[in-house]
């Protein structure tokens, strides 16, 4: 997959969808292309968050540790981003991500990501918009869940 295809993929990630393609190209160029075979770990729960990953191809599982071993809580498909919260909030990984099939991913390093945000405010605003949108959805879900429980 070439740089320009990666840019296309990134554009399909909601977090990046409003960002102009020249900036995405720079983001892609400065990111590492990494590949994992099925079963390999992208990162582990509790690790320090040093990068976000955009899945380019393949599938990966999100696993959370529990007393009875890891539980799969979600599945990552191409065009999804994972690990972005940890690099934005300086927190450690809240889950483990494991490749379920051969996975090609774009590894966006934390310092590069933050640097881009600092330098291109229009990009940051776009991302804040997406995150706020996510938050309002989550809030709405929470309200729904609560009212369903009552």
């Amino acid at each position: 997959m070439l740089l320009k295809d990666e840019v296309g993929m990134l554009q399909r990630v909601p977090l990046f969808s409003g960002i102009e393609s020249a900036k995405l190209k720079l983001l892609a160029f400065t990111s590492d292309r990494v590949s994992y075979s099925a079963g390999q770990i992208l990162f582990r729960q509790g690790d320090e968050g040093d990068a976000a990953y955009v899945i380019l191809s393949g599938k990966a599982d999100i696993l959370v540790d529990s007393d009875s071993g890891p539980i799969k809580v979600a599945e990552l498909l191409p065009n999804s981003i994972v690990g972005e919260i940890a690099i934005l909030c300086n927190s450690s990984r809240t889950a483990t991500v494991r490749a379920a099939s051969p996975v090609e991913a774009l590894r966006i390093r934390k310092d590069h990501f933050l640097r881009l945000m600092r330098e291109f405010p229009e990009m940051t605003i776009e991302m804040v918009r997406v995150l706020a949108d996510r938050l309002s959805h989550t809030t709405a879900d929470l309200i729904d869940a609560r009212s369903a429980n009552q």
Binding site: A22, D32, R33, A51, R107, E119
Partner: protein
């Protein structure tokens, strides 16, 4: 040191000075004879005196003397020569005298030059020898650069003077007196005129020069201070930048230079003033000769031959006179310099030579307890660090010294190490004062490591083994020219009062480290490096550096085995994608296009980096392979993309680290180049521009950069070009590149690159770490671990060890102290740069290592954290310079003293 320079020179060189005096006096004979000859030639054959009759002859070389009582005795009647042959003969004698005088001068100059150099060598050695014997407190006040400049520059003029010290006045004085006498003999009154003028010169000039000496002294002191300041700036460069004081330093230096300039300019003015006066006086004399002498000739009271001879002789007077006056100036100047240096090097309490005397024999272990008896230590300002402390450390005991912030335990450790001397009381080993023991005992049987580490600018190995180099233990046999050279070295060293110890001998005391020779020393080294947790870091250094193949032959010899082991291992673990190996007939996708084309390590500048594309032969290969145009277009494409991506970023942006093609500074140049070349047909682009563009393509790696520029067809072409390149490689480039060969070690590449013999896959983010631990395993399995560690030990630690981290320096210092297996190991906050956890671990290891193989040295350690005292037999607590608690860890902890407070 001898305060008078003249006496110093006389003491050490009187025999030589006397010998050369004799030679100088001998040289006076032909010198005087050559004065008389011109007159003989002019008066005799030229003017015809004694050849009045045609065919008249005169005796030549007649030897006859008037002896008392016997009367005239003729030894040799001489040859009878006519006027023309006499002219030839006398002229030939003149030529002969010229040659003899020249040879004398040559011999004398060489002799005194050697004399001067020997003395210079002696003085310099003596000065450094004194530095080695200065008491410790002296070094708190002196700037190293000032000492260096004294030893190197300030005594330098002494070398030139020493040969002349006694000779010059005799030689020049003799010449001047000879010339003077000759003038007087020719004509008394003309002689008197010259004498009066000379007298004026002798009295006046030195007087005027007194000011020069004062200025010279000032110049010396200011220049010394300048070099001290420059040294300080270099050492303290960090502080300068941290505090933004570079302009303060600039002002200070400019001010000093201004002062030096003023002094020097003053000096010049005076110098030339004196010179003018001197020349004037010298020229006055011939003026008087012409006037008075000419008058006398016209009056007929003087013959022309006499006047010519007087003027001829006078031409030889101002020279020696001027030089004599210069010599006097030099003498005063050099005497001042010498005194200034000697004053600086005359220090009270110099360590006696006996303490540092060379001892080749093993001094035997120190079996007596080490004790402090009423020991008080003070700092340079006079504040008490330790106040009448008495304690005893028995052999084999491990003691932790715990100290409050004003405790003074460090001062005790320094006193044990003889780094500071007691204010009162003493440190003793058994009944002997420690300061009276030779360093051959304390320096071998005791060792000391502290947080303040000094490393020499040499390899890690040299620094580690430094503590074992007490005496030359082998005598090296030299043969052929080397033997002559060695004999000469020894002879000259002795003549200059230098020791003739051979620096090329093996100084390493293997036995002290528990080894028998170079072959098994390494085990001991490895043990201590493991103990201080430094091995891994040195291995890393080894992997990252290129090995010296003359030393590490085994590594080079077994490289094939190593590479094969790595492949097998990777295959075994299913990690094949981690490394893409170099294969002679294949394109390596993880390597750059440039690397794929060259397929070797550039060993010179001809084919390295940016020079590759511009190399005419390389360019011709590309042309023949039909790649020139393709790579040019690829370069243009890369330039466009790179500029599009990066043009907006500030030049210091960290993203530029990702841009392998060009540096941030090159972007504007490439931007204009791109503007210029866009839409230009390839044929019209100049060679230089082509190289600029093509070179961009050389850094391209498809999987990493992902521009989609590299297809299978191009890869095949590149491999073909590679083969073509090597087939026609011209002889002048044979040594510029080392071709990758799976069976050969690449001397120009790092050890890691040699083992990998390929490139790490770029899509495995953890590849470097994984591969490194695999490589270590392989080195260990193949028994090459020691070899790799040895490569790492070649690492040059830089000035003062600054290429290592503070933690590494401290670890090295402890390793060095452990290596000589002391009876008393003194540690003074040895690992303070490391975090507490590592400190604990290393200290534990150090205790184990020191006691390995049944050894039981006493260990005295000033700990950085009271909790570390737990692993010691005994704990001694200091507060305000006093010993307040002393006992085992348990008893002190059970008590209610300071220690308990400190620990909690």
């Amino acid at each position: 040191m001898e305060p008078s320079l003249a006496r110093y020179i006389w003491t050490h060189t009187k025999k030589q000075q006397l010998w050369i005096l004799v030679i100088v006096l001998l040289s006076m004979i032909p010198y005087f004879m050559s004065f008389d000859l011109p007159k003989l030639i002019v008066n005799g054959p030229i003017q015809g005196k004694g050849f009045d009759q045609p065919g008249a002859t005169q005796p030549f070389m007649r030897l006859h003397y008037n002896l008392p009582l016997i009367g005239e005795v003729q030894f040799f009647p001489g040859f009878q020569l006519d006027r023309m042959t006499t002219l030839f003969a006398l002229s030939l004698v003149f030529l002969l005298l010229v040659i003899i005088n020249g040879l004398f001068k040559f011999y004398i100059n060489t002799y005194k030059g050697r004399l001067g150099e020997r003395m210079l060598r002696r003085i310099r050695f003596e000065l450094v020898d004194r530095v080695l014997r200065f008491p410790p407190r002296y070094f708190k006040r002196v700037k190293s650069a000032e000492v260096a400049t004294m030893v190197k520059d300030e005594v330098e003029p002494l070398g030139g003077f020493i040969g002349d010290a006694f000779l010059q006045p005799v030689l020049l004085g003799g010449q001047a007196v000879t010339a003077m006498l000759f003038i007087v003999v020719q004509n008394f009154w003309l002689g008197m005129i010259a004498a009066v003028i000379v007298l004026i010169q002798i009295v006046l000039i030195p007087r005027m020069r007194r000011r020069l000496i004062v200025l010279g002294r000032k110049r010396q002191l200011t220049a010394r201070a300048l070099s001290g300041r420059v040294g300080e700036i270099v050492d303290g460069i960090g502080a300068v930048h941290v505090h933004d004081t570079s302009n303060y330093e600039r002002a200070d230096i400019a001010d000093r230079l201004g002062l030096i300039f003023r002094i020097r300019f003053d000096l010049y003015q005076w110098k030339f003033m004196v010179k003018f006066l001197n020349n004037f006086l010298a020229q006055i004399t011939p003026f008087l000769f012409y006037l008075v002498g000419g008058y006398l000739v016209i009056q007929g009271r003087l013959d022309v031959g006499q006047l010519v001879a007087v003027i001829g002789a006078y031409k030889d007077l101002p020279g020696p006179m001027k030089e004599l006056i210069d010599w006097d100036q030099d003498r005063q100047d050099v005497q001042v310099k010498y005194q200034q240096v000697v004053e600086q090097f005359t220090v009270e309490g110099l360590i006696t030579p006996r303490i540092g005397a060379l001892a080749s024999d093993d001094p035997g272990p120190m079996t007596n307890p080490l004790s402090a008896i009423g020991l008080s230590m003070a700092d340079d300002g006079g504040a008490m660090l330790l106040d009448r402390v008495s304690l005893q450390v028995k052999p084999g005991e491990t003691v932790a010294l715990v100290s409050t912030s004003t405790g003074g335990a460090e001062a005790l450790a320094e006193a044990f190490a003889r780094l500071n001397w007691p204010e009162s009381g003493r440190v003793a080993s058994g009944a002997d004062d420690l300061l009276e023991l030779p360093e051959a005992v304390t320096g071998r049987r005791m060792s000391y490591a502290s947080s303040d580490v000094f490393l020499f600018q040499a390899s890690l190995r040299d620094n580690l083994l430094y503590g074992l180099k007490h005496a030359p233990l082998t005598s090296v046999t030299y043969d052929g020219a080397a033997a002559d050279q060695h004999r000469w070295n020894v002879h000259e060293a002795r003549r200059s009062g230098n020791p003739d110890l051979d620096i090329h001998s093996d100084w390493i005391d293997y036995a002290a480290a528990g080894a028998t020779g170079p072959h098994d020393l390494f085990d001991a080294v490895r043990q201590v490096l493991d103990a201080v947790l430094l091995s891994r870091e040195i291995l890393d250094l080894g992997l990252r550096s290129s090995a010296d193949l003359t030393r590490h032959t085994e590594l080079a010899g077994r490289i094939v085995e190593l590479r094969a082991a790595l492949r097998t291992r990777l295959e075994h673990e299913g990690l094949n994608g981690l490394v893409v190996p170099f294969e002679p007939g294949a394109y390596n996708k993880e390597a750059t296009i440039g690397q794929n084309l060259l397929f070797g390590a550039a060993a010179g500048s001809e084919l390295a980096d940016k020079a590759l594309a511009a190399n005419p032969y390389f360019a011709s290969v590309l042309r023949q392979a039909g790649l020139d145009r393709t790579l040019y277009e690829m370069g243009m494409n890369i330039a466009e993309q790179a500029i599009e991506l990066f043009a907006d970023l500030p030049p210091d942006h960290q993203f530029f680290q990702q841009l392998a093609f060009m540096s941030a500074e090159e972007i504007p140049a490439y931007e204009t180049l791109l503007q210029r070349l866009k839409n230009r047909p390839y044929e019209t682009v100049s060679e230089n521009d082509r190289a600029m563009i093509v070179t961009l393509s050389f850094a391209y790696i498809e999987p990493r950069h992902r521009f989609g520029l590299l297809g299978d067809e191009l890869m095949t072409k590149i491999v073909a070009a590679r083969n073509r390149f090597y087939e026609g490689l011209p002889p002048e480039l044979q040594n510029a590149v080392e071709r990758y060969d799976p069976a050969k070690y690449i001397a120009a590449a790092t050890v890691m690159d040699n083992v990998l013999f390929g490139r790490l896959g770029s899509n495995h983010p953890d590849a470097p770490d994984r591969i490194r631990s695999i490589v270590y395993d392989i080195f260990d399995e193949l028994g090459l671990y020691a070899e790799l560690l040895d490569v790492g030990l070649d690492f040059n630690v830089g000035a003062g060890g600054r290429r290592l981290t503070a933690g590494q320096r401290q670890k090295l210092d402890v390793a060095r102290a452990l290596l000589k297996r002391p009876d008393f190991l003194i540690l003074n906050r040895p690992l303070s740069a490391l975090d507490q956890r590592v400190q604990d671990k290393v200290l534990q290891n150090v205790l184990e290592e020191a006691r390995r193989d049944g050894r039981s040295p006493a260990i005295v350690c000033v700990v950085t954290n009271p909790a570390m005292a737990m692993i010691f037999d005994r704990v001694i607590v200091f507060d305000s310079g006093r010993l307040v608690e002393d006992g085992s860890h348990e008893t002190l902890l059970a008590g209610s003293g300071i220690f308990k407070e400190l620990v909690s």
